[in-house]
């Protein structure tokens, strides 16, 4: 079995956001493997830990620095990595079409992709990749087991959750709750340096949308903070809520 896990590199959530010349400037931001993608790497490793003969390939599309995120996936336990180098931002549809080529080339059976991309706040890649491949998708997946020729998953719907069965090959988008991703150990970080990382130009199809401007999102709040007598403060909040029509 071959499992592909899609990796994205995002700025650490704690980074302060500024806008400079219409671009997002992240002062002193550390670039990390997107937390949502870690669940996919971990799930692939667990499938192998359970005794299945599986090769795990981490794939990313992004600028050169993305290799660091791939190294993290390798240190967690992925077997090898592929980086499609693209300096410009691409929309999820273009990324999906290019990744679909890699999936077909690798003849993968199962593809993991994070449910939502932290920096671009986009949930489109999983569904777009399934569409580009013509494969079934389990999105927002919180549990997964293999069963004869397919998988059984739990996934969160808009309200409540559902149990799904789908045949392989398939795309699974992951989220918190699926598992507890492991931390890379020092020996594994050392070992990861020797694992194969193939780098090639992305040469992706054109994006069908383009970002032309960025502004900081600000919302004016009343910012009335009350301290002191609990009953008095509660009375104030009650009035505020009642004025809001509650």
């Amino acid at each position: 079995m071959k499992i592909l896990t899609v990796i994205r590199q995002v700025p650490d959530a704690e980074a302060r956001v500024r806008i400079e010349d219409g671009e997002v400037a992240l002062s002193g931001a550390a670039w990390v493997l997107d937390g949502m993608d870690e669940y996919g790497v971990e799930q692939a490793l667990r499938i192998r830990d359970d005794g299945l003969d599986a090769e795990i390939v981490a794939v990313a599309l992004g600028p050169e620095r993305t290799e660091e995120a791939l190294r993290t996936a390798l240190a967690m336990g992925a077997d090898r990595a592929r980086l499609l180098v693209a300096d410009e931002a691409l929309d999820p549809l273009a990324v999906a079409m290019r990744l679909a080529d890699v999936v077909r080339e690798e003849e993968a059976d199962l593809v993991f992709v994070g449910g939502k991309q932290a920096d671009w706040d986009s949930a489109a890649l999983g569904p777009a990749l399934a569409e580009a491949l013509g494969w079934p998708l389990s999105d927002w997946t919180t549990a997964l087991t293999l069963e004869d020729g397919g998988i059984r998953t739990e996934h969160d719907a808009d309200a409540g959750s559902e149990t799904l069965t789908l045949p392989l090959p398939a795309v699974v988008s992951t989220q918190q709750g699926l598992n507890e991703p492991r931390y890379p150990t020092l020996p594994n970080i050392m070992k990861a340096k020797r694992k194969e990382t193939r780098s090639e130009p992305a040469d992706a199809p054109a994006s069908r949308s383009r970002t032309v401007g960025r502004t900081l999102e600000q919302r004016d709040r009343l910012g009335r903070v009350l301290e002191g007598d609990p009953a008095e403060a509660a009375g104030e909040v009650a009035r505020f809520l009642l004025e809001a029509g509650r």
Partner: protein, 699 residues
């Protein structure tokens, strides 16, 4: 006219969801700029019909199974059929997965989770939030059609504006659309409001302390505010709340009217899921918590102290934005003018002064008024039914200028309190399906949609039937179809029809069936007028129609004999009874004579039979007649019955699963001074009947 703007309608109970109506709002704004028309796509006839109130054209698709792949295929077909150059969807999880698929399949551009959309000569552009909702990016679409998901809470929900045309759209589905199968075993969505749809969200952070504290503090506050419960990742990780309630980067994104953050510090990941809420209230012990930089009103304090104080403060008064007190009180006859003036705000089915006067003074109605500065700004009228613990919210109106001030909620709470104090366990109501504000008020207050009535109002509008359990869990009740009696003396036949239909007997002609059963079962005479049906007579009628049946009688007397004095009538009643008894005996129908009570009825219910019970008409309707009802279930407090008699001014739904207090059973389930008690237990058709039927030669 240029190409239409298409919008996908997600429905709940066949009504468009609030998120979908927001997408309609976005579509209207976009279409107006382009001089185009908005068209909708909806799945199923009912949902399409409901959507037609908002757009001139609805493409009705029928999904063989509802999943992302069938929705994708239907939307691609609708784009082709309509020639639309833009498709908008609500920013729900499901639609956010469908949108990229559609965009890819049609070679279009994806604008994901946009807060605004604009069209100009250069094309369509949208704004979306990135970097954990801290940056707004302006995106230009560079392909058509445009497929956009509209971020929940970014547009006002559209108001209905007409009655559009529904056009069925044939979609060629493929077998592969069914590859993903939904299995049993998921968590159901439940009757609760979806988190994203809620106008108020009360969210718990780690500072609340424990799962028990969430139940003690967060749940009551959410209930009081008519809101949904949310949680931070820490709370979900700790197992205090389920994943589906998680708000933030890895959970859901909400933008309610009011967000109450309890014990939440305000990490960026959480803020990204709620920062677009209209008003934010935060309570946290740590004065340095980042949440206080993002709130409208914050309280530095212990949630365990502040929340109970807040609940107490909320319980005492209702105010409107001008600060004038709104008081809710029982209505008096002196309020008649004010109440009558409010009727003008109903689009149809207004009550006359005479009707209102009657309702204000009736013992079995409770009217409430909301007063503001000496003026009546709203009223609620609740009807009760003698002998039963069920209430019906008959009417609720709020003056338009005070809407949104919480007057409706205050009236509703008063009405429920009044009903509870009278011992009622449930409230039911009808609401115009096109009255979104009222429907949402009831949903927020825990009412469930239990049915839909076509052309309910005199102007032809449809109604949703909703009900709420005021206390305790809803009992398990037998699924017995309701039949109303059409004549004063046919309660027995109507009950028998309900029982037989519960076993799948096909209805043939209501009136003819009712009369045929009556002819089989009647005692010919009763005190006055036509005869009623005796237990033995009903058993004979059931027997002749192939059903298993059993009679329980507390005493061996001839039923209803003591209700007449005329010796001729007595002789006839006796003769009829002897004939019934003989026929039952020949067929081996058990007639058990001896004392019995509720346990015998519960035993019959448990065995899957339908008990028909004789009750005192005097207790229920102040008329000294025997009356038959069908028992549909029991719980610790009540016996539930279908009463075939629909009093004037009431409707069929008023007769369904009526709760009769167990404590009243002894009094009500008897007839006459001698306290006769009868139950006819109807069972399924006897097997031989089917064989007999099979031997009937075809005509």
């Amino acid at each position: 006219m240029s190409a239409p703007v298409l919008v996908w309608i997600e429905s709940s109970a066949d009504a468009p969801t609030r998120a979908s109506l927001q997408a309609v709002g976005a579509a209207r704004a976009l279409a107006e700029r382009a001089g185009a028309q908005v068209e909708a796509v909806a799945a199923g006839a009912e949902a399409a019909q409901a959507a037609a109130a908002y757009v001139p054209v609805v493409h009705q698709v029928d999904l063989p199974q509802d999943n992302q792949e069938t929705r994708t295929r239907a939307l691609v077909a609708a784009l082709e059929a309509s020639g639309a150059r833009a498709l908008l969807l609500a920013g729900t999880r499901t639609s956010q997965a469908v949108a990229p698929r559609v965009a890819l399949r049609v070679g279009g551009a994806l604008l994901e989770d946009v807060t605004a959309l604009e069209a100009d000569a250069d094309g369509v552009r949208g704004w979306r939030l990135t970097q954990l909702q801290r940056v707004s990016e302006e995106i230009v679409a560079e392909a058509t059609p445009i497929v956009a998901t509209v971020k929940i809470g970014s547009y006002e929900p559209a108001e209905p504006n007409g009655n559009g045309e529904v056009r069925p759209l044939e979609v060629a589905f493929e077998p592969e659309d069914a590859r993903v199968a939904v299995q049993a075993g998921g968590r159901p969505a439940g009757a609760k409001l979806a988190l994203e749809e809620a106008e108020v969200v009360v969210a718990a952070g780690r500072g609340v302390g424990s799962a028990d504290a969430v139940a003690e503090l967060v749940e009551p506050l959410a209930a009081r505010l008519g809101g949904a419960i949310g949680a931070t990742r820490a709370v979900v990780d700790a197992g205090w709340r389920p994943y589906e309630e998680q708000i933030g980067q890895t959970g859901k994104t909400v933008a309610p009217e009011v967000y109450v953050a309890l014990g939440i510090s305000g990490a960026v990941q959480h803020l990204s899921g709620m920062s677009r809420s209209r008003r934010i209230v935060a309570i946290n012990r740590d004065a340095d918590a980042p949440i206080f930089k993002h709130c409208d009103v914050g309280v530095v304090g212990d949630v365990h102290e502040i929340v109970p104080a807040l609940l107490a403060a909320l319980g005492t008064a209702t105010t409107d934005p001008a600060g004038a007190a709104v008081q809710v009180r029982r209505a008096e006859l002196a309020d008649l003018d004010g109440v009558a003036a409010l009727e003008a705000h109903f689009p149809s089915d207004r009550l006359s002064r005479r009707q209102l006067r009657h309702l204000l003074t009736r013992a079995h109605a409770q009217a409430w008024v909301a007063e503001e500065g000496g003026r009546i700004v709203g009223d609620a009228i609740v009807l009760f039914r003698r002998g039963f613990d069920a209430a019906r919210l008959y009417s609720l109106v709020v003056a338009p200028e005070t809407r949104g001030h919480g007057v409706g909620a205050a009236l509703l709470r008063a009405a429920e309190r009044g009903a509870s104090e009278r011992g009622c366990v449930s409230v039911r109501l009808e609401v115009r399906e096109d009255n979104d504000a009222a429907r949402r008020l009831y949903l927020r207050h825990g009412y469930d949609v239990v049915g839909r009535v076509d052309v309910y109002y005199r102007d032809g509008a449809d109604a949703l039937r909703m009900s709420k359990r005021l206390r305790g869990d809803a009992p398990r009740l037998a699924g017995v179809p309701f039949v109303a009696q059409t004549l004063p003396f046919t309660c027995g036949p109507a009950c028998l029809m309900m029982a037989m239909r519960a076993f799948g007997d096909a209805p043939w002609s209501d009136r003819a069936e009712e009369l045929a059963l009556w002819r089989d079962a009647t005692t010919v005479y009763l005190a006055a007028g036509h005869g009623g049906c005796s237990p033995h007579g009903l058993a004979v009628a059931a027997l002749r129609r192939g059903h298993r049946v059993e009679v329980l009688a507390r005493d061996p007397a001839v039923p209803f004999l003591d209700s007449v004095r005329d010796p001729v009538k007595k002789a006839v009643i006796e003769l009829a009874h002897d004939e019934f008894s003989a026929e039952l005996k020949r067929a081996g129908v058990p007639v058990r004579v001896g004392p019995f009570g509720l346990p015998a009825i519960e035993e019959a219910l448990a065995a899957g039979a339908v008990p028909i019970l004789l009750v005192s008409g005097y207790r229920l309707y102040a008329e000294k007649v025997p009356h038959w009802v069908v028992v549909t279930g029991t719980d610790d407090e009540h016996v539930y019955v279908h009463d075939p008699f629909v009093p004037e001014g009431a409707e069929r739904a008023d007769g369904v699963h009526l709760p009769l207090a167990r404590s009243a059973f002894e009094r009500v389930a008897t007839f006459g001074k001698a306290r006769h008690r009868y139950v006819v237990v109807i069972g399924p058709p006897r097997e031989t009947r089917h064989r007999d039927d099979a031997q009937v030669p075809a005509r």
